[in-house]
Each structure stands twice: as structure tokens, then as C-alpha cells.
Symmetry: C2
Subunit: 255 residues, 2 copies
């Protein structure tokens, strides 16, 4: 039977989940996808995820692929799968891709948003998708600090210490700090991210915003190549993987 | 013992609640406030709510008052009460008011937002605070229709039939239709609202946006003074009571 590879664009509210990656105890996004796909396609199905987000992190467009012998047209799978998934996971798109296509082997750009709600007291309808702080924050200082991170750098200081990676050099195309009412949104686009990198950047920019650390100190933090030089890891609930783009497709679109 | 009246500004995520008003079966905002206030103040305490929102409706600033003999300063009650309330209810402010002050007997302006998320598939992180539709919506048509509702009108067509009220005449100061990315926000400010009025307005504007009904038809809908002339009642989850202002205080501020 002929097999095809299908790519899914996956959105989820991470609140209830122990992250992306399958675990024997605790529900995960990958576990739910495998369970529902296997039932829908009537064959054991396992997805490969592009970004294995942590517990509590949200996504508007993470990417997964799987192989199947099913005759259901690839682009119809989103509709059928959404009928079976819990309401906090929704497939935004399903499409056929070449059999050797692998999301982690393609050049890509990921955009994350870290959302901060600043006020005297937490706002219930904001609590699941932002980090609350009652500290005064100076967005101009945060913006100034953010500028030091744009470009190709060794982000070792912004990587959880026990992460095993060959190189800690990454490229950030954009680090934006935007005010939206009582919220401050840190928007970061890059070619790749180290473990906890966005949350450590957010934690460090929060310290700059509070006046605990100078914007210019970011140069020394990068230079140190030492996790302890950066700020704390900001909580997961404020983080959303907003967009996952593949360079080959971006080029095609711009032709 | 001297008694004082305290006013609370109350924010909540209505998802889990059977509305504002106390019920014997099912948790309510009022029930949670009474329970936590009674424990905090060590005396049976009952709040009076300004807007008794329906099951599933959210608030950023509803108003409640209660009387107490407690010596805790009124402005400190917010801090103490927030320690005891579930995380989906948060007091934004507590303040002493005159003993005869009653929120429903003051001239006030309430601002509601009805949020619509329009896309091919629902977005999990938007699902709790917006109404999802896959229909195309024309915001310009919605905006045109909204204009018919501004001013003093008999809103009988926009009131749930079994509601018992003396007069169905109300004044709307603003009915705005704003695009925010994939979301459309209907923002309505008025002196008072009939039962389900905002949700029926939203349901009617949705029909206009879909092309099922002409913007100009809103004049006839008002004229009909008949619930069946308007559109359906839009779901509760899209509705948030954003702001509750009292005219006497607005005047003071503008002096």
C-alpha cells in the first residue's frame, strides 16, 4: 500500500498538558495526536513534532508530520481530526509533503510571543496566557536591552545548563517589545532556539524593565556564556509559539 | 459597633461559574464572594452585585457592595480577599463608600465587549473568551448596522421575552466594531442593559456581517419591538463586562 507523509499545523492551549513530548504518566500534545490519529486512520500512527514545547507553553502554529497508508486526502484530515481531539488542541491545516520532508531538517523561522500582564492585581481573563507582575516596568529600557540580542550570537547564557546541544550559536531576526494596553508583549523571531531560551530572555528583560539590571549589561551577559549571568526563567504560561515558517516556502511566496 | 459599606471592583473568568447570582446548586461569583468575605471578616457577609452577569460571561470590572463591622481598612480588603478567592476571581479595588450608596441606584455607564474569532478552525488559546465562527464577516456592514443602535431607543426587540422590566427604553452611547487581527470586537457602552441585550445585539450584527440581513434592517428591528425580529442570542463566552463607571465620579474627575 502506498504511504504518504502528512504535515499538520497544530494549535493548542498548553495549560492542561505536560508539554508536547509523549510521557507514560501525564497527558501530552503528542500523546493526544497519536491517540486520535491512530483511531481516525485505523493504524498505529506516531507524529514527529517540530518544536517540543514545555509543560504549560501554548502554540498557535506548531508543526508535526506522520506517515500513513490511509486513503483520506491529506487536506481533509484536519476536519476529521478536529472532531476527535479535545477542544484545547486544534489542527489549523493538514497537507501532503514529500516522503523525505522533515520539519527539523528544514531551514525555518519560529516566532514566539512572551506576554506580561502588569497591574496591581491579576486579571482573571488574562491569567492563562500571560505572566502577571505588579512591578513597574519600563518598556523603553526593555526595548533597548532587546536590541543587543538581535543577530547571530552564542546564546549559552540563555540556555538551561543541563541541555545537551552541539552548538549554542543561534540567530535572532527580531526581538520586539510592544505595549498592548496593560500588557507588554515580547515578540522574538529566530532560526532556532535553545532549551528555555525565550523564557530566559523574557526573565532577563523583566529584570531590565524593573531597573534591577541595565540595558547595556546584555552585552556582558552574552559574553559571559554562563547561565548564571542571565535572569531567571520566566513562567511557561506567558509563552506562545505563534508561527513556524519554512524558508523554502517563504522564498516561493516572495517570487 | 460601627458599620461601614465597602465597594468592590470584581474581575472574573466566568467559564466555571453558573453566573453571578447565588444558587443552591452550582458555584457562582456571588456565592464565592460571600463565602470568602464571611471567612475573612468573621461575620456573615452578603454582597449586592451591580450587574448580575449570566453563566459563562466574564468581567474585568463588575461592582459589588457589602456592609461590615470589621476593623480591616476598606482599601486593604482587596489584598486579603484575593488570598482566599479562587484564581479566576480577583478583586481589583476595595474602597469605603457612604452607607446609603447603592450601585444600582446610581447613574452609571457600563462597557461590554463581545469578541468574535473568525477563521477556518477554532484557535485554542482564544476559545474561552471569544465566539468562534468560520463564516466570512464584513465588518463594514456590521459597523453600519451598529450605528442604528446608538442613542435612546426602545430595545424591546433586543430583550429576552420573559424578562420582567418596567421600561425597555435604554440609551447606548457607543456601539463600535473593531478589527483586531483575526478577531472582531463589538464594544458597547450604555446607561443600562436589558436581559441578554448585548448578546442579542452581537447575534444580530453577526447576521449582518454574514450577509443574512441588511444593515438598514436594524431600524425596522428596533421599530418592531418584538424579540423575534432580532437575531439569535450569541453565546456567553464571547461577552466581557469591561468597565463600570458612575456618573458622579466621572464628573468629579472631569472637573
Amino acid at each position: 500500500m502506498e504511504r504518504k507523509r502528512v504535515r499538520l499545523t497544530v494549535a493548542y492551549d498548553g495549560t492542561r498538558y505536560h508539554g508536547w513530548q509523549f510521557q507514560n504518566n501525564g497527558i501530552t500534545i503528542e500523546g493526544e495526536l497519536n491517540r486520535c490519529l491512530s483511531a481516525l486512520l485505523q493504524e498505529k500512527t506516531e507524529v514527529i513534532g517540530a518544536s517540543r514545547t514545555d509543560a504549560g507553553v501554548h502554540a498557535m502554529g506548531n508543526i508535526a508530520v506522520f506517515d500513513t497508508s490511509s486513503r483520506i486526502p491529506a487536506e481533509k484530515i484536519s476536519y476529521a481530526l478536529n472532531q476527535m481531539l479535545p477542544e484545547d488542541i486544534r489542527i489549523q491545516r493538514s497537507q501532503e509533503v514529500p516522503n523525505d520532508w522533515h520539519p527539523r531538517k528544514c531551514k525555518s523561522r519560529k516566532t514566539y510571543e512572551y506576554r506580561i500582564y502588569r497591574a496591581e492585581f491579576p486579571m482573571p481573563i488574562k491569567r492563562l496566557y500571560s505572566y502577571f507582575t505588579y512591578h513597574q516596568l519600563d518598556e523603553n529600557r526593555m526595548r533597548e536591552a532587546a536590541a543587543y540580542l538581535v543577530g547571530e550570537h552564542d546564546f549559552k547564557s540563555f540556555c538551561q545548563v543541563n541541555a545537551q546541544v552541539e552548538s549554542t550559536v543561534r540567530t535572532l531576526y527580531m526581538v520586539q517589545v510592544e505595549e498592548q494596553g496593560a500588557e507588554i508583549v515580547i515578540r522574538i523571531c529566530g532560526s532556532g532556539f535553545l532549551y528555555n531560551m525565550v523564557r530566559i530572555i523574557a526573565g532577563t528583560l523583566l529584570e531590565v524593565g524593573q531597573g534591577k539590571r541595565e540595558p547595556e549589561s546584555l552585552a556582558a551577559v552574552l559574553e559571559a556564556k554562563d547561565r548564571s549571568a542571565a535572569g531567571p526563567t520566566a513562567p511557561a504560561r506567558g509563552l506562545t509559539l505563534v508561527k513556524y515558517e519554512f524558508e523554502e516556502e517563504m522564498e516561493k511566496r516572495s517570487v
